[in-house]
Amino acid sequence: MTTILTLPVLLPMLGAAVTVLGSRWATLQRVVGVVVLSVVAVLAGVLLVVADERGPIVTELGGWPAPMGIALVADRLSALLLLVSTLVTLAVLVYAIDQRIADYGRGTASTTFHPMYLMLCAGVSLAYLTGDLFTLFVAFELMLTASYVLITRRTNASRIRAGMTYVTVSLLSSLLFLTAIALIYAATGTVNLADLAGRIGTLPSGLRSVLGLMLLVVFGIKAAIVPLHFWLPDSYPNAPGPVAALFAGLLTKVSFYALLRTQTLLFTRDEPWTLLLVLAVATMLVGALGGLVQNDLNRLLSFLLVSHIGFMLFGLAVFDAAGVAGAALYAAHHITVLATLFLVSGLITRRTGTVALDRMGGLARSAPWLAVLFAVPALTLAGMPPTAGFVAKLALLEAGAAAGVDTRIVAGVVILASLLTLYALVRVWVRVFWGKRRAPLPDEDDADEVVIGTARSSVPMYAATGGLVAVSLAIAVFAGPLTALTARAGADLVDPVSYRTAVLGARASR
């Protein structure tokens, strides 16, 4: 069981090495990528079942006992998010491969895409599984460095502009993260999360607050919490379709997971956190209102992405078992639905040749399947019953209603932001799918990687998008067991005894 824990990190890394060495053989790269991610998805499922039945699984790398060595930990939350993330990366990879085949034929290999994609997956797995603050930094760097390459490869002028903002902001937050780690180490003498959970409580409260707030700023930048969100709607829309889907699905949620993990494990509190409630309200409203005025489909989705980070933040701000459980469920649902919407946006762009909403129209008649693929995740994101979004929002609202007066007010804002999301998406529906049929606009830039306006989309691209829609529907169908699972995960997070005992053993009582 302990070996399985290392494989979600090692397999994608080995796969990346193989795809670099085999960069002349396109088929080899594709097979390696899909096989590796399929295996990781199965392993993540196994980890989830075992972690749910027997408690957190721990591996001490190199045989060094924690807190000296690096520990990998899979508990219910990390295994669940790992499973959902891997399913999304698998679907997006299938989509990306078939988009490339549709555009350039079966024979063209890519020297950078497959290795970087797999390295990003390795970083994501490591970020979920690590039980060590510094390894978390390394995981983020692994993930972000791969993302820098993916967002700036085959550059044109607009993509380089977006890439610069993205890279600079991410670098800044990484250096702040490193600073926070140095200060935490200076104060406590450990970087092991389970060990820190015991030691940080003994620090003076002022010092604790400073360290907690530093980590909030670090992960706030990476997770695009208002007012630290400005880089996201600028950079994501400029990435090619599948890459934008990958980023939108995973990167911000991994950062939110890190925030959830560190705040619940290290900086525990007994009542709702007012600062985070205010940030959640700002994030929900700024994102939703920003989405309303956009004319670029991808920018609109990016703003809605920011808005829905606020929903998860609300769950964390409530800071009890129910709230944190709601946040975990919402994160799982959000990963799938945002990735799906960006993939659908890619399909729409390929058909219409533009991302401008006012230059599209009539797709409901010319591409009815596309309309279905858009409608289901759109309704899910807006939280209409009986979709997964409704289940997740219900969990958040129940937690908010039970926790006190101010959380009830914020729960009202949750409903308002959901309605604004629905309005923004209805606006997309009216402009893109209704109205007169329009001839596709010609591709403005033939040299860049994205081929648009041709309506050439292969069946696997639709199948991959449909698969993600199916995952999000499955979350709705299995809402009962999943809600129970996240409720257990929430209880684990709020009272991290099982986590600490699993990592430290008898030393946890110290």
Partner: protein
């Protein structure tokens, strides 16, 4: 090793004032450079900031002491090796990212002619709009927009045909 780290945390770590000030100056310089538009200055800012952070990691390990190699000295006189390992990892990562930024800056210079970070174009455009577009209510006006945009498309297509013939 366990005892060593434990004792180190029990004692308050005394920090060299000169080193602390150096870290502060490096952070100030780094952040100031990060605020500029030119990617080259941003790059230097990141490098300086990275040095500051690595120095801070070193400071976190406590005062200078003997190299932590078993058998060369009594364990009590060892320096804490962990921050050094962390700083080494961080140096490798910042080095890799510095090269990436350098390549990005060069690419921007080749493509755009300069390496300055530009404003968000679409954001500026939306900010300039006087009346926010109200899509659902404005039925008639919308229809006309669609028509005129259609004409534009057809005109563009016609131009394309002319050019081809």
């Amino acid at each position: 090793m366990t005892t060593m780290t434990t004792t180190m945390t029990m004692d308050p770590v005394t920090i060299n004032m000169v080193m602390a000030l150096t870290v502060g100056v490096l952070y100030a310089v780094g952040f100031t450079l990060l605020l500029s538009r030119s990617l080259m200055r941003v790059l230097i800012g990141v490098v300086v900031l990275g040095h500051g952070t690595n120095l801070l990691l070193q400071l976190a390990g406590g005062p200078p002491a003997r190299p932590p190699i078993v058998g060369t000295a009594p364990p009590e006189s060892f320096a804490d090796p962990l921050p050094q390992a962390l700083a080494l990892t961080a140096i490798v990562i910042t080095f890799a990212l510095t090269t990436l930024l350098l390549a990005l800056g060069y690419r921007a210079f080749v493509l755009v002619g300069h390496d300055e970070v530009q404003d968000d174009v679409e954001d500026r455009r939306i900010a300039r709009q006087k009346v926010p577009s109200a899509p659902l209510e404005a039925g008639d006006g919308d229809e006309q927009d669609v028509e005129s945009a259609d004409d534009e498309v057809e005109a563009a297509a016609a131009r394309g045909r002319d050019a081809a013939s």
